[in-house]
């Protein structure tokens, strides 16, 4: 995307510079406006749109048997996570997920609007009081991922962060069994 943008930018700049060159073309409305002004942007946009929809589609939660469901509840200024697989289990500030398995995070808020964002796992999704939004994330490798809240929420916003811990199979089972806090 960056390359495409740079090329277009360079093209416009060259046209600008050439305008200062001595020349005596007749005014060519069709060339400038119809070809460059209309056709060119439309072509670029169609390409971009197709790409966007394609990628967006891939990021979408899809039904599957082996999807793990968790719930993320934002409040000023902490996240509380609960797990569909273990009744009554909650963690604060740390979300545990299995690695290599798609996870659906049901995001909501109990006070103001927050946003759930783990940059390396997925895009962000807002936590809105009274609404539940579902975000699909998946960690390829076990490890620790940093997450932040990305919607301004007043004074504690600066420090409002959390971590996601992706476990391998064995660890995940022991988490479910209550052996990891």
């Amino acid at each position: 995307m960056l390359v495409g943008a740079s090329v277009i930018f360079g093209f416009v700049m060259v046209l600008l510079v050439l305008a200062f060159r001595k020349h005596d073309d007749a005014p060519r409305e069709r060339l400038w406006i119809v070809k460059l002004g209309l056709v060119f942007p439309i072509a670029v946009l169609l390409a971009l749109l197709a790409y966007g929809l394609f990628v967006g589609e891939r990021l979408l939660p899809r039904q599957g048997a082996d999807v793990v469901s968790v719930k993320a509840e934002g409040r000023m200024w902490a996240w509380r996570f609960s797990y569909a697989d273990v009744e009554g289990r909650t963690t604060q500030g740390v979300l545990h997920i299995p690695a290599g398995v798609p996870v659906d995070v049901a995001v909501t808020s109990v006070d103001v609007v927050h946003s759930f964002w783990v940059p390396r796992l997925a895009g962000k999704l807002d936590a809105i009081p009274g609404h539940v939004n579902v975000l699909r994330i998946e960690a390829d490798e076990p490890g620790t991922y940093h997450g932040r809240s990305a919607e301004f929420s007043g004074e504690g916003y600066d420090q409002f962060a959390f971590t996601v811990v992706a476990h391998d199979d064995a660890e995940w089972r022991s988490f479910l069994a209550g052996e990891i806090e």
Binding site: P27, E29, G37, L45, G52, L53, V55, G123, K124, F152
Partner: protein, 826 residues
Amino acid sequence: MKALERHRRMTETWASDPGFKGWFSTVSHTDLGRMFLVTAFFFFLVGGILAMLIRAQLATPHSAFAGPEIYNQLFTMHGTIMMFLFAIPTFEGLAVYLLPKMLGTRDLAFPRLTAYGYWCYVFGGSMLLFSMLFGIAPDGGWFMYPPLTGPLYSPGINTDFWLIGITFVEISAIAAAAEITVSILKYRAPGMSLDKMPIFAWYALVTALMILTGFPPLILGSVLLEVERAFGLPFFQAELGGDSLLWQHLFWLFGHPEVYIIFLPAAGVISTVLPVMCRTTLLGYGWIVAAAVALAFLSFGLWVHHMFTTGIPHMGLAFFSAASTLVAVPTGVQIFAWIGTMWKGRPDLRLPMLHILGFFITFVIGGLTGVMVAVVPFDWQAHDTAFVTAHLHYVLFGGFVFPILAGLYYWLPHFTGRLRFFRLGELAFVLIFVGFHVTFLAMHWVGLLGQRRRISTYQPEDGWTVINLISSIGGFVVALGIGIVIIEVILHAVAARRSARNPWGAGSLEWAMLTPAPAYNFASLPHVTSRNPLADNPDLAVELAQGKGYLAAPSRWRETLTVEVASGKPDYHVIYPGNTRLPIVMSAVTGIFFLSLLVKFYWTVPVAVIGVAVLAWRWVWELGRKDDLPAQSIGHDVELPNTVAVDHAPGWWGSLFLLTANATFFGSLIFGFAFLWTVAPGWPPPVWFEPSAIELGLGILGGLVAVVAMRLALRANDRARSPLPMLGVAFAGTLAVAAACGLLMLRTPAPAEHAYGATLLVMGGYGLFHAALVSLMVVFLIARVSRGFTSPVRRAEFPIVVLWTDYLALVGAFTLLAAHLTGYLA
């Protein structure tokens, strides 16, 4: 009569009161345009100082300069001031100053309204400044999302300053927009058909129409949020049937068009200045007009792209993503038309041209990153990071500040009658340009590294330190550049050589006059036959000064004429009101209304409302006359009827566009009702409204009776019979609507406990307010008839009241149906 003698006599009629006292009573568009621009520039400096404080804070990690509670006020006020108190008023000021001059006439349609709008802006802006000086400024970010800004999480007065101050300022935007629209459509030089209008007027027209339809959703949102905060009626609280998403919709219904409301006037400046700098005419005038109109339409379909992360359904995302990228098409048309114009002419690197080049480079980058952000998967990553802040500044600074600086240097000789003497501007340009790109390229970069926007500090481990420092240094370089601009403008105003008329060799009419501009603009009005009248006839200025145009005879009234909208054929003769303090007094009383709400001093609220009503009554009363004015000669053997003796007077046109804004407001309210009903959690409400066929019938029938009676009154007046009986019937009709709406409000179930009741209460209040307003208008008309201000000839006031009565009947019926039908359905 000699030109000099004419100048003297005209000036006598048109001049503002001498000295600084004249500022308070002036209604001249030249004065008010300058005042608008100076005030807006002052706010630009305030916003700029805030930006410097922000950059100082972010320059180093762990900065102890400001804690979050101060930092939150800093960026909220920076954004708010730049958007509402700098950008929009700059457009208003530029349009107020330039339009009548470009359109070849003597003033705007409603001179006193210009003044009223200006003072509302000053008073509203002062409220916000005051809050900042005392450290109680708004701190919820410039888009003020509830519930964070709601009563539970922001109990302090900070948020109220925003909601009430900005609404007060918006009055001036709506007033200016209605005025600009009517002025462009009606107040032009004879012969200037729509397709011969200067391109700036087209842009201003589109912008004004966008303000009329774009601002009401924000005003509604502010009203609802303030009502929630002050009186506990829930609109945005999920537990009580409200939904904070409603605010986001209302805000961005305004906020996205806002970006184009800011960009289009700047594009108008470029389309005006660029051809002159290239010694040619604009390429593709028709295409550019079409592109501006297309942009306006498209921009209203795009608000949702600011809400991509709120969990909008997938199909919605695809649609809005597609539509968002589509705006690049009309923008592309304009950009290439401008570049084509440069190819067609011979561009000269004079100072305004430098700023235009600055615009091109900056804006194209901003547009490209904008398209990137519009692609959903990318936005999910970039949303709410410094990347978005940087993108937004490329668009706003590139798309607005550079063009405005180009315009400043271009019209400076017009403001002062002097030519630039010191060459500081070139240095200033380089500093601003380089500084800007350093600042914001760096911010793009840290944004991609994950720095969120609106954080007051960060950790050294984040690895953003160096980039932020570079960005801050860039910011201070920009400030230095702006400082030099100010110094140059001041030097210019006090000491520079006198300029000849039309120093740039422009073709548009604002240069066909003395500079600085005389109070009356044109001693006589030109007859326009092309888009560049001054280029066709370089002696035009002298000929007009000698009285060779229309309305050349000085009179003791301030006279001008209006034209048919499309053709530009002269149709009416206009007499303007003279200098008066009424506008400033009325806006001060309006200010008392807002101030009382702010400090919760409620018993002065009705006093202020009555005060405004009394002043408004006087405002309109002053305009009438008791004798039938014969058709007036405007020279060249043309005679025109005066505006008191026509069906669609300027007041009718003004009402039409005011009602357009008003209808958008009401439509947004209905949208809010439907949105809460279908989307908000916590529905259905615990109790429904108890429907009543009698009340419903009373209100709808009352509206119909008023509508019919007003028409009969109008007809009676036309046939020289007394309209009084029918006016009485119309009055009774409006009272019936008022009663039905009042009962609706009284019987609304538990408005503080559920958004359903709260919304009905507001709708009922809206209906009641309009019923009261229209009944007041009918009473006014009765008084006018009794005092002999009307006659079969002097009929202009009837159609205006007819228009408002129709509107009342419509919104009354909608309101009552919304309440009673939902009661029946449940």
